[in-house]
Amino acid sequence: MDKPKIAFYWCASCGGCEEATVDLAEKILDVVNLVDIVFWPVAMDYKVEDVEKLPDGSITASFINGGVRLSEHEEMVKLLRRKSKLVIAYGACSSWGGIPGLANLYSREEILRYVYHEAPTVENPQKIQPQLRIKAEEGITLELPEFLPRLLPLDLVVDVDYYVPGCPPTPEVTWKAIETLLSGNLPAKGSVLGALDKSLCYDCPLNETKPEKVLIKEIKRPHEVIADPTKCLLIQGLVCLGPVTRGGCGALCIKAAMPCTGCFGPLDEVIDYGGKAISYFASIVDYSDEQEIEKTLGKILDPMGIFYRYSLPASRLRGKITIAER
């Protein structure tokens, strides 16, 4: 019997997810023993034509990381969808948009203007900007993929079967996901693989240090305080998103005395991660006076960046919508 065929692809991502796959270390050899990798641009020399030549549905599973930001991403994920039995959104960007998804707070034009003209590190007196198509001197037409109006999570472009969370997914989570897929005992479509069904607090070694009532009077930013690594970070005033974030990471950040930023995303029952995060956090600010509340919460200078850090494109807010788009 043929070994299952696996593909890896990256869209708008930082490359961390690719690193995470490699971080499987010697386990990657187990993976290679169990499957044939038919496509992995970052590590292996296959071309798009190689994928196109494969019969539809012949790839067992495609792991796609990164959000869909370029027309090329869109074409590739649609191609992989056609060729694969299962499509797996791998990592936070692919699942909900991730950090690059925060660019949805700006229009495509604003982004291009800033990046190519206005950023303080840019010197571009000829005002050159990427073009979709140019005629080169030899009469050849050169083409670039289009920068789409906004970044989309994978499941808004193609049908997604499973999700593997994390920024990036840890090797343990990745391995568990692969094991689940190879076990033949597939969970319900849409499930999150490799992680817990409870929030990080469940898994967090500091959960037991919480007082009976978790209420805070003051918010501190990570650089303002040397956190006590033996005490719940939330009660030290740090905005820790552990309570609202899916567990399974092994509390890596917490163990380094850094609050959870939410890269494992929401639990199944939660409709909008950022909304839930805001709702939970606002609930524990221990003031009833409006001015005190405003003063305390005013310490959160970048609510989008904190609460919607990984999930803006998949949220109800989606990002900035211009009047014309509406």
Binding site: S199, E269, I284
Partner: protein
């Protein structure tokens, strides 16, 4: 419940209340075509007997398992229609009500089309939610027959007396070393030829004669756990330093070197650090004011009964009760120094200080003398501390001060016929029985009434004389009065530390800090927390009569609970999905009722809701970061279906 939803929609005309603005026929036709709706009917009064019959008939004939009633507010008739469902043999919580009267016809009476459209939309939302409703079971608890009364003033004493007479065991606690509250400090009460202290004495005798009442003075509430029918109470009894062996000989007072203003005389006279609050005080035992005691031990040395022990410690007491009555009373408003010259001149006193001076048994033996001379010109200023008269004043009317002012003015008139007496008022509210006659009598007795809008100016001259200047509203003229005595008719304010008590018992308060009733008109002596009742001035200003009335009312209400063997509670409470709960404990901090705690289960922490304590406010469900906490009747999925129904065309 996995059965296919079969929904009946029943639309009420409410006479013309709804039908006048909402096109009922159109709404019925619309409802018939909504998903899962088997039958849609209308009737002129759905809450009437024939209306209820229509629903029952529909349930039986169409084999319905969900009902939507579009009528008035659920506050009004949800209970009625739940009973209809129960009588028809289906779970009463499979009902969803739509308020198309208040929310459609009444507010859009000028736009029938809009009212009709909105009614359709609200019904569509309710039908969407109804499909996801679950059958719920009411919660029941056994009732403990004891009751705790907090506060030994006239309201608390009346409540205790009535409950004991009905056979319930009453624990009456009082923070002060003596029972009687504010009334004990009053002089002769209006109309009744009885003094405050005698009234308290009579009530105390009634209370003390009952074997069912246990009185704890010097005692404060420390903690309350449990819920309606079964409260676990912790009390702290502060040391009194004098025990029952005290024979009231008074030797200790003679040797005590400390002199402090006597709060039981409103500071008109002074007392020692060891003292008896007032004559006929209960318990008849001296008390050491530990804050002012210098620990010189002179009293210990002279006490012939060996009744004084300055090393006495606080004591903890634990009780179990089925109901709690809070009758923690009020405090008189104390004007800040300088307000109307108070604290600047000894000629400016409060109404309560005047009451003590006019009491024949008081510190001045009923003599009203200032610097050895009877005052000739006496000016009362009412609404001090009330009706926003000054920036420090409260916005409400204190109810008892007008009548009390007039009563005292008449007493002065009787004793000193030559005195010039003025009552400067914002408004005269002598609403209680017989008080209006008192007001007329004051007029006949040449007590002069003048009305101000801007607070009068009390000018204390360098020679000690006083002038009162104000703009008289009736004659529209600036008036200037020389005064030998200015009496400030001060109002009431919430008692000190009431926030501590209400946090322990979990009762809400109004903007001024008085405790809040569950409903001002329908449930005036009940708190929103089940099993907790409110009596006397703790809910706001009352006169003595009203306080006693409310004490008896609260006792009566409490007895309707205490006579039951068990209580039933609406099951619209929060519930934890243990599979999803991560034990993050966020919900515990936000719960205003202390209803949630963590338990350890299979080595993991999981939240647990005490159904007896949960009020179904939804705070925990909103804050729960994982969606593990859900509220029966308002689960996320149910609400989401409503929102989607609203947004989908």
């Amino acid at each position: 419940m996995n059965e296919e939803p079969r929904i009946g929609v029943y639309i009420c005309h409410c006479g013309v209340n709804i039908a006048g603005s909402v096109n009922i026929k159109e709404v019925v036709e619309y409802a018939k075509n909504l998903p899962n709706v088997i039958e849609a009917r209308d009737y002129i009064f759905m809450c009437s007997a024939p209306g209820q019959e229509i629903i029952k008939e529909g349930i039986k004939k169409c084999n319905l398992n969900r009902v939507v009633v579009a009528a008035c507010s659920p506050t009004m008739h949800e209970h009625t229609f739940r009973n209809v469902l129960a009588e028809a043999g289906i779970n009463p919580y499979l009902l969803e009500m739509v308020n198309i009267r208040e929310q459609c016809s009444w507010v859009h009476s000028d736009n029938k089309e809009a009212a009709t459209t909105k009614a359709k939309l609200l019904i569509r939302m309710a039908v969407a939610k109804a499909s996801l409703l679950e059958p719920l079971k009411e919660i029941t608890f056994k009732v403990n027959k004891n009751v705790l009364v907090i506060g030994g003033g006239v309201a608390g004493l009346s409540a205790a007396r009535d409950l004991a007479a009905k056979g319930f065991k009453v624990y009456l606690i009082e923070r002060k070393p003596v029972i009687g509250g504010n009334t004990a400090r009053l002089g002769r009460l209006a109309h009744a030829e009885i003094k405050g202290i005698d009234l308290v004495g009579e009530l105390s005798r009634q209370v003390l004669s009952s074997p069912n009442i246990h009185i704890y003075v010097d005692t404060e509430l420390a903690n309350v756990d449990g819920s309606v029918g079964d409260f676990k109470i912790k009390l702290v009894k502060n040391p009194r330093y004098v025990n029952e062996k005290c024979n009231l000989c008074g030797e200790c007072v003679k040797v005590c070197p400390v002199d402090v203003p006597n709060e039981y005389e409103f500071g008109v006279s002074s007392r020692k650090a060891i003292y008896l609050p007032f004559r006929e005080a209960y318990p008849p035992i001296y008390v050491v004011d530990s804050e002012n005691c210098t620990r010189c031990f002179e009293c210990v040395k002279v006490c012939p009964m060996n009744a004084i022990n300055l090393a006495e410690k606080t004591e903890e007491i634990e009780l179990t009760v089925g109901a709690i009555i809070i009758a923690a009373g009020h405090e008189p408003y104390e004007p800040p120094i300088g307000e109307f010259g108070y604290g600047v001149s000894s000629r400016v006193i409060t109404l309560f200080q005047l009451e003590r001076m006019l009491d024949e048994a008081g510190p001045t033996k009923g003599e009203l003398k200032l610097d050895g001379r009877e005052p000739k010109n006496i000016v009362f200023i009412t609404c001090v501390g009330s009706l926003n008269t000054t920036p420090n004043a409260y916005p409400y009317c204190s109810r008892m001060c007008c009548s009390s002012t007039i009563k005292n003015a008449l007493m002065i008139r009787e004793k000193y016929p030559e005195a010039n007496i003025y009552i400067l008022h914002r408004d005269i509210r002598t609403y209680s029985r017989g008080d209006e006659q008192l007001y007329l009598k004051a007029g006949e007795s040449l007590i002069r009434f003048a009305r101000y809008r801007e607070a009068p100016n009390v000018i204390v001259n360098p020679d000690g004389s006083i002038n009162v200047r104000f703009f008289e509203e009736t004659i529209q003229e600036e008036v200037f009065l020389p005064a030998d005595l200015v009496v400030l008719s001060v109002g009431m304010k919430p008692p000190k530390d009431i926030d501590k008590v209400r946090t322990i018992v979990k009762v809400g308060c109004g903007p001024e800090g008085f405790l809040r009733e569950a409903h001002l008109k329908l449930r005036p002596v009940e708190a929103a927390t089940d099993g907790v009742y409110l009596a006397g001035t703790v809910t706001g200003p009352k006169n003595v009569i009203e306080s006693i009335e409310s004490g008896s009312a609260a006792a009566s209400k409490a007895s309707t609970l205490l006579t039951k063997e068990e209580v039933r509670v609406e099951p619209l409470i929060a519930v934890v999905d243990e599979e999803r709960c991560s034990g993050c404990s966020i919900c515990i901090g936000v719960c205003p009722y202390g209803a949630i705690r963590l338990k350890t289960q299979e080595k993991a922490r999981v939240a647990e809701v005490d159904p007896a304590l949960c009020k179904g406010c939804g705070a925990c469900a909103a804050s729960c970061p994982t969606g593990a906490m859900q509220q029966f009747g308002f689960k996320d999925a149910q609400l989401k279906s409503q929102v989607l129904a609203a947004l989908t065309k």
